[in-house]
């Protein structure tokens, strides 16, 4: 039985564990956080494992951001790399050229993404289905070319490398991955809270109504275009913030890594694998994705086959689509009567 027992005041996504067992819900959230936070203290954990965890957390944040627009809102944005790139380049350019710290740079990137999402959304969100998806791909490809063209600003095809200052809180830089572990963990938690809030809010319910049926949503009084635009903007800003973190961790960006289609597809995988439209989906999916990547990288090095990780991604996605279309969280929810949503 769900929290919707009080039917009239029910939330959309409440589950048995949320209402019936607050301690269980708390532990489901607290234990993974504690494990990640304690990683640097464990004797057998080296910098390699911490770096892989940071990579997982970064992709989780990107997946969480995309999940808002695609999972909750049902808008298949294939060009979300645009906002990752805007976050990366804005943070990097402001730091390298003007000495503005990334603490401000990420906000500038998010603001730029907001404006870009408003313009892009106004032009594309009245399109339906595949036409919207294709329009976002076109935007993404256009920005690849633009970032190659403005060499002085973006470094052109060679990309942009951050000036390295060593360990510096002001510059959000470090010689070891540990500080990024905590920074990324905080963003994952914040994005999780945002996702939960959206899922339980009137706005989230409107997004899901639009996702289910636009015409019926309008007939129920939902302002369809405004709802889609707002979801798109929120997701774009979240992606841009994650992009700022990406830039600070990897210290470099190039047009393909920022705006390219392969990157756009990578940032969709956590939510697709884990479960679209759920708060836990991108977290579970992102963790599995990086774990698979590391294991297959290691395996492909051993057997001398390059690119085996891409093959495994593809196969994993295929298995999920065929066997668990609602993702791993959907599968677990079915198995354990709704405890992980």
């Amino acid at each position: 039985m769900s929290t919707n027992a009080n039917v009239a005041g029910a939330t959309v996504t409440g589950t048995a564990s949320d209402a019936g067992s607050p301690m269980r819900s708390f532990l489901i959230i607290a234990i993974p956080i504690a494990i990640v936070a304690a990683l640097p203290l464990l004797p057998f954990v080296n910098n390699y494992i911490i770096a892989a965890t940071v990579r997982a957390l970064i992709f989780i944040t990107l997946g969480q951001a995309w999940n808002v627009v695609a999972g909750i809102g049902g808008l298949l944005s294939l060009g979300h790399g645009v906002f990752l790139g805007l976050g990366c380049y804005t943070t990097g350019i402001l730091f390298n050229k003007y000495g503005i710290p990334p603490w401000i740079g990420v906000w500038a990137g998010a603001l730029l993404s907001l404006v870009f999402a408003l313009v892009m959304g106004s032009m594309t969100l009245r399109m339906r289905g595949i036409f919207f998806a294709l329009a976002t791909v076109a935007m993404s490809l256009a920005l690849v070319q633009l970032s190659r063209h403005f060499v002085d600003l973006t470094g052109g095809a060679d990309g942009l490398a951050l000036k390295f200052l060593g360990d510096s809180l002001w510059a959000m830089q470090a010689r070891t991955p540990q500080p990024f572990l905590y920074g990324a963990l905080v963003i994952v938690i914040i994005f999780y809270v945002i996702t939960r809030w959206i899922l339980g809010s009137k706005f989230g319910m409107e997004m899901m109504a639009v996702r289910d049926d636009e015409v019926a949503a309008a007939a129920a009084g939902v302002a369809v275009f405004r709802t889609k635009l707002l979801g798109f903007v929120v997701s774009a800003m979240m992606t841009s913030f994650a992009g700022g973190l990406y830039m600070q961790y990897y210290m470099a960006i190039d047009p393909e890594a920022a705006f390219g289609l392969s990157q756009a597809i990578q940032l969709q995988l956590p939510a697709l694998l884990g479960g679209l439209g759920t708060a836990w989906g991108p977290i579970v999916g992102g963790a599995i994705m990086i774990f698979l990547s590391e294991v297959t990288n290691w395996g492909s090095t051993k057997i001398g086959v390059e690119g085996a990780d891409i093959l495994v991604y593809g196969l994993a996605l295929l298995v999920v689509v065929l066997r668990a279309p609602k993702g791993i969280v959907g599968l677990l929810t079915r198995q354990f009567s709704g405890s992980t949503r």
Binding site: N4, V12, M205, D213, A219
Partner: protein, 247 residues
């Protein structure tokens, strides 16, 4: 006693799709509190008219007035918030949501206070006897229940005019009778004006006091069911040998 208020006025509405004329100068009025039927054979223009009245389609010419206000240019969601509500020929519910939340989405568009929304959802569930289904998802419901949920969602929050698009189709005789009773109860208890598009003419005749007949994109008759049934134009153009169906 004051004169009845005009809830909806359709004035000289025309709609063309390229060279095809779907509606030609269609005009009629619906008074507040009235239950009116709209009939016509396939291709008469009923669905097009329904889409235009509800704001999903713009007319090529003409005007829609709702309680005295011109709403011809108003988008569908704003008409709904003003109380102009509809159902669909093929039931369209939010499949990922429970029945209660389907109703809640609509109620929350017209009510700002969460407490009001909660009370409204509870009242509608009770009135349409959907309490037992409140926590179910639409896929778990029978067709009759899905249609009732759609009506529940349509009237939630604020409803002055309810437009039902073939709500009886696919139902058994008993289910249709039950739904009619509920619709008439809504008309009485909430003072909702009702327009019903229906193919089951005998059902419609038992339900409404006035019928508008569309044929070949135009209104050819407007009157009581018995007047319409005896109208030579209707008999010739629409009912033909099925005239008995109305009686």
């Amino acid at each position: 006693m004051s004169a009845p208020v005009c809830a909806l006025e359709v004035k000289d509405i025309s709609r063309n799709f390229g060279g095809l004329v779907a509606l030609r100068d269609v005009s009629f009025k619906v008074l507040e509190g009235e239950v009116m039927g709209l009939i016509g054979p396939n291709g008469a223009g009923k669905s097009t008219l329904f889409e235009i009245i509800s704001g999903n389609m713009q007319p090529s010419a003409g005007q829609i007035t709702y309680f005295g206000d011109d709403c011809t240019e108003l988008p569908a969601h704003r008409r709904r918030r003003a109380g102009m509500c509809r159902t669909f020929q093929k039931v369209r519910l939010f499949e990922s949501m429970t029945v209660a939340n389907n109703i809640r989405v609509a109620a929350s568009q017209c009510m700002a206070d969460a407490g009001d929304v909660r009370r409204e959802v509870a009242a509608i569930l009770s009135q349409l006897r959907l309490e037992a289904q409140a926590e179910r998802h639409p896929a778990e419901l029978t067709l009759a229940d899905r249609k009732r949920v759609e009506i529940a969602r349509a009237i939630a929050g604020h409803c002055r005019l309810l437009m039902l698009d073939e709500s009886m189709s696919g139902l058994t005789h008993d289910e249709a009778q039950y739904l009619i009773t509920e619709i008439l109860a809504l008309n009485r208890s909430r003072g909702i004006t009702v327009i019903v598009v229906e193919h089951v003419l005998s059902v419609l005749a038992a339900m409404v006091k006035r019928l508008v007949v569309l044929h070949n994109a135009s209104v050819i008759a407007d009157g009581t069911p018995s007047q319409v049934a005896n109208d030579p134009l209707v008999i010739e153009a629409y009912l033909g040998t099925k005239q008995k169906a109305l009686r």
